[in-house]
């Protein structure tokens, strides 16, 4: 069984002064992977600027657009469709003991291979005081511990749009207990890494049909690596294991590697931007 | 060559040329007025107003009493006045800096010395006794720069761009000078030799373009409005005439655009058109309405500059 998704992404930019030159890079294309296929892309912009397809550092597809003529308004609109295979997120063997799993995590070679997703970045760094917030229990498997972490983050932070921005540091969020999906995901990554588990930040789309938290923009969750199982997606904003409703775009060390839109605009004065995302699905046989 | 750097070199040429003209206008007018034949031409206020007009400053109030030291400072050493000599030299050096890899070491060193000369010139010395010394040094150093442009650079695009700037600016400055002196000649009528066409101001005008001796040699009589304007506008053999400048601009723009494809939107086309119009004009046609001529020519030159910018410097 599979689901056919259709996604609409829209970004409208208005500038108070004419823009002389600008470049944008979008990281919003659904990833093609084992559960996401037949991805189709239809990307338009109001100035009819040509699209350049490329790849970011982690191999995810990007679209670059440059404007050389003056403008004050530009609208980007993208339609994607894809087929998402139905999977059972619990379809794996849980390892026998935490001890054996940890042994693998502590091997030097493992640490070197997973270095990017074990390191502290400026967005996943915690003060000494906060590092002890969540400790893994010895009598449970890694997976169970991570599930608990997922729940712990879900309960620790109140989903409150508008209280944080992309640069808010984690310690502030832990102290204030308010945040959005990015903050949930960063906190999850930070604490998983703190316990020696490779964790990566994932950006993508969430199908909100069933009333999940997220927003009408892009969603973020995390993936953690367990030596016996591989990468598993955790959505701490909704206390879920990532499933059919999570359409992945990209992953990285943190938000900075996954920013959906990066732009360089040569203009003065203010600009106004609105983003919107819509996801709809249709069951396939 | 990079479009941005080309733009900088073009402006380097313009700024070098501009500072020289201001320096010459300043000292020629100052010294001419000291023993001018009629009272108005001798008047400080008259002379100072003429300087401001040439600089392109907004005209002062009719009855405003101008202070000589203020005006001279404004023209020469006021770093806050955008058109002062010091500002021009600063801009010239700034532009040279950004293109330092393209111009010769010799040329750069001369520009640099020029800059330090102006920067270090003491304001009080200039105002008390340095007017002549300062001006002739500016003129001399500009000549050295032009010589080094000609003799130490490969005569390729870099050279053509600089020379375009130099000659376009020279044409521009010439028109400004004619404008200012024409105005002076109109106003200075009166006294014993008061006819407009025989005004003393024409002699000053020629001197402002370093063309008085050449003019005497060519016409062998006292300059009049007709001979002065003919010489400065139409005679291509006068090195500072408008015609000479247009010829140079045309020649150098052809280095950048040598396609000779018919393109009536190109800079080369526009330069050729303006040049052709004046190549075979009679001076009487111009002298009858100098004001209109000045307006049209100012516009022509500004159009050429803008076209160049679009065609070559747009980046």
């Amino acid at each position: 069984m599979s689901l056919e998704y259709s996604i609409t992404y829209k970004a409208e930019n208005h500038y108070d002064h004419p823009v002389k030159e600008a470049s944008w890079q979008f990281l919003i294309l659904p990833d093609e992977n084992s559960t996401q296929n037949q991805v189709e892309i239809n990307f338009n912009n109001s100035l009819n600027l040509p699209l350049e397809f490329s790849h970011n550092a982690y191999g995810f597809r990007t679209i670059r657009i440059s404007a050389k003529e003056q403008f004050m308004d530009i609208v980007f609109e993208a339609h994607f469709s894809l087929v998402k295979e139905h999977t059972n997120p619990f379809n794996f063997q849980i390892a026998n003991s935490l001890e054996e799993e940890l042994k693998k995590l502590h091997q030097l070679e493992f640490k070197v291979d997973f270095e990017p997703f074990l390191r502290k970045t400026s967005l996943t760094n915690l003060l000494e005081d906060h590092k002890q917030l969540f400790l893994f229990k010895k009598d449970k498997s890694l997976f169970e511990n991570l599930q608990e972490l997922n729940k712990w983050v879900f309960e620790k932070i109140f989903y409150t749009p508008g209280t944080t921005h992309v640069g808010t540091v984690l310690d502030e969020i832990v102290a204030n207990r308010h945040g959005v999906c990015q903050d949930f995901s960063h906190l999850f990554c930070a604490l998983a890494r703190q316990n020696g588990i490779p964790a990566r930040y994932v950006s993508g789309y969430l199908h909100q049909g069933i009333g999940y938290f997220g927003d009408s923009q892009m969603h973020a969750w995390a993936e953690a690596y367990m030596p016996e199982i591989g990468w598993i997606g955790f959505d701490p904003t909704n206390n879920l294991i990532a499933n059919d409703n999570h359409i992945k775009v990209a992953h990285g060390k943190d938000y900075a590697d996954c920013a959906p839109l990066k732009g360089v605009v040569y203009s003065k004065g203010e600009n106004r931007t609105t983003h919107s995302v819509q996801v709809s699905s249709q069951q396939q046989q | 060559m990079l479009a941005r750097v080309a733009n900088n070199l073009f402006w380097m040429g313009r700024y070098i040329e501009r500072s020289e003209h201001i320096a010459r206008y300043m000292h020629v007018n100052y010294f001419s007025s000291l023993d001018a034949p009629n009272e108005l031409s001798r008047s400080r206020q008259f002379m100072l107003r003429s300087m401001l007009r040439m600089l392109g400053d907004p005209p002062p109030q009719e009855n405003e009493e101008l202070k000589e030291s203020d005006i001279l400072f404004k023209l020469a050493l006021d770093p806050n006045h955008p058109f002062s000599i010091i500002s021009n030299v600063q801009h010239a050096r700034e532009n040279a800096n950004s293109a330092r890899d393209l111009i010769s070491t010799d040329l750069y060193e001369s520009i640099n010395k020029f800059y330090h000369f102006v920067l270090k010139y003491p304001v009080d010395v200039f105002l008390k006794k340095g007017l002549y010394d300062f001006s002739v040094n500016i003129i001399e150093m500009s000549s050295i720069l032009r010589a080094r442009i000609r003799s130490t650079l490969l005569h390729d695009e870099v050279y053509a761009i600089i020379m375009l700037g130099v000659n376009l600016e020279r044409a521009n400055q010439l028109i400004r000078i004619i404008n200012a002196k024409y105005y002076d000649a109109l106003n200075a009528q009166g006294g014993y030799d008061d006819k407009f066409s025989k005004s003393f101001e024409w002699t000053t005008l020629l001197k402002c373009a370093e063309a008085y001796d050449m003019n005497r040699r060519f016409y062998k009589k006292t300059p009049t409005s007709l001979t002065t304007l003919e010489f400065l506008i139409l005679n291509p053999n006068c090195p500072r005439s408008l015609m000479n400048c247009l010829n140079q601009v045309y020649m150098h723009v052809r280095v950048l655009d040598n396609s000779f494809r018919y393109d009536n939107h190109s800079t080369a086309f526009l330069v050729g058109r303006v040049r052709a119009e004046y190549q075979y004009k009679y001076i009487d046609e111009i002298e009858a309405d100098i004001k209109t001529f000045i307006e049209i020519m100012m516009r022509n030159l500004s159009d050429i500059g803008q076209k160049m910018e679009k065609e070559f410097f747009h980046y």
Partner: protein, 487 residues
């Protein structure tokens, strides 16, 4: 030795505890300096003062200056230059040159490894923390093959002579090592002032740097390019090293561009010329990694080129030095150089490394905290001589402050024994005579495909403040012409 009253060396005082480059222990002028000593001795102090003034104004008029801001006013200053050259004989130079090449090659292999298989980390030869805690380790470079396999095309190796008479490397600069233009300017200035002295020595030229640099850069052109188009990219004319950028562009005969002169289209790089777009294949980069491409790195950078990194990853353009080389420029990596050289080349280091204590290791941290007065404490990530504390110059209070900082951020600091830099007679303006001043040497090594070049000369930097050990120009250092003698 001349005994004339006005001899410019007559008031020269030697501190016997320091290694003097021109006098031996007995106080005799060393062989290689004898002729020079005699020639300079023929000048009176007055002659010398005049020559010195002329050399200074020559630098000033040529605009070989840097800007200093003081009291809101901008001032132009020249880098202090000393007319008395430093001489390195052929035998000593051979060691330096071989040692510099050895280090550059080892670092290049290290960089390849940590951006590919990471064997040296997996085998525990150097700790994984070396990269995992480094801000300069760019994950974007993972599995990227730089054209020709070269990361550190240009390395600047800072070398000193200790009072045991041996050379030691203090630092390997492989981000954007600067100063090479001063090597050449110093030579030019010395030739103009004292051309006669060159007749008595067989000195290697230094003016061949640019041609060798261009040749080696072109040897690592992108795949499929026939005749490469090379440019130098600068942050702009207000950068303190702008003179050097323009000098290198000019002497290589290539364009000097700023970020705004370049655009990336379909992962190829172009420059905007008066005749439209022109493809660029090799970029000699004088912009730091983080500022190179606002779409990949710091978005607030107006110096970079949007899309440049993507073009680089596709192999369409060569960047020199490659992005991410900064990780090996780290002072913590320096301390593992002997291991790195052994691991990749199976050689012992030709040039000595100064012994280093890692404050990140508890045992060594304890030693450091107990012996601060005998050590130099350095932050691992500061360039330009900032943040260095020299133990025996610190007051009790300052020692406590340093201890506190080191305890707080042990990973940020390393410590080394206080090295005594050799001294060289240097003309001091204020007193109009020669005095001993500490010096070091920065050499320039260029790696190309199967070929390398070391500039036979380098920049001898002088700490002009009496007794000062820090030679960086940003800290009041000057420089000398450096003569490498032919065999």
């Amino acid at each position: 030795m001349s005994t004339t009253e006005s001899n410019i060396f007559s008031s020269y005082q030697r501190d016997p505890s320091l290694f003097d480059e021109i006098y031996d222990k007995q106080g005799n002028v060393k062989n290689v300096y004898q002729t020079l000593f005699k020639l300079y001795g023929e000048h009176s102090i007055n002659d010398y003062m005049l020559l010195n003034e002329k050399a200074k104004s020559s630098f000033f008029n040529q605009g070989i200056t840097f800007q200093v801001y003081s009291d809101k006013e901008m001032q132009e200053k020249i880098f202090p230059f000393d007319l008395f050259p430093r001489i390195i004989d052929a035998k000593e130079w051979e060691i330096i040159e071989k040692g510099a090449i050895q280090r550059s090659k080892a670092l290049n292999l290290f960089l390849w490894d940590i951006y590919h298989e990471k064997n040296i980390l997996k085998q525990g030869v150097v700790p994984v923390e070396l990269i995992s805690s480094s801000e300069n380790y760019l994950h974007q470079m993972m599995d990227v093959d730089p054209p020709g396999g070269i990361y550190n095309h240009i390395s600047g190796t800072d070398i000193i002579k200790h009072n045991d008479g041996n050379y030691y490397v203090l630092e390997d600069n492989i981000r954007c090592p600067s100063g090479v233009s001063y090597v050449i300017c110093n030579r030019t200035a010395l030739k103009r002032a004292l051309f006669g002295v060159f007749n008595h020595y067989q000195t290697h030229t230094v003016t061949n740097y640019a041609e060798n640099l261009l040749e080696l850069l072109e040897s690592v052109k992108p795949h499929g390019v026939d005749i490469p188009n090379t440019v130098v990219i600068t942050p702009g004319m207000y950068n303190s090293a702008f003179y050097e950028h323009s000098y290198l562009a000019k002497t290589m005969g290539v364009e000097l561009v700023e970020g705004r002169d370049l655009i990336v289209e379909n992962d190829f790089v172009y420059m905007k010329t008066i005749k439209g777009l022109e493809k660029v294949d090799i970029i000699y980069r004088r912009i730091d990694d983080q500022f190179m491409d606002p779409l990949e790195f710091r978005a607030d950078s107006s110096l970079g080129v949007p899309g440049l990194f993507s073009a680089y990853k596709k192999g369409n353009v060569t960047l020199a030095n490659a992005p991410g080389t900064g990780v090996a420029d780290d002072k913590a990596v320096y301390t593992y150089m002997p291991e790195i050289i052994k691991y990749y080349l199976d050689e012992t280091p030709i040039l000595n490394n100064v012994h280093t204590y890692h404050c990140s290791r508890p045992k060594e941290l304890t030693y450091v905290l107990d012996h601060i007065s005998e050590l130099v404490i350095k932050p691992v990530d500061e360039a330009g001589g900032y943040g260095i504390s020299i133990g025996n110059r610190l007051s009790k209070k300052e020692i406590e402050e340093v201890k506190k900082q080191v305890k707080l951020h042990p990973r940020k600091y390393v410590a080394q024994p206080i090295m005594s830099l050799s001294v060289h007679p240097t003309y001091i303006d204020d007193v109009n005579s020669f005095e001993q001043r500490h010096i070091d040497l920065r050499t320039y090594t260029v790696l190309g495909k199967d070929k390398e070049f070391v500039l036979k000369g380098g920049l001898t930097r002088v700490a002009l403040k009496k007794g000062n050990l820090i030679v960086n120009s940003s800290q009041g250092g000057g420089s000398k012409d450096t003569w490498v003698l032919k065999d």
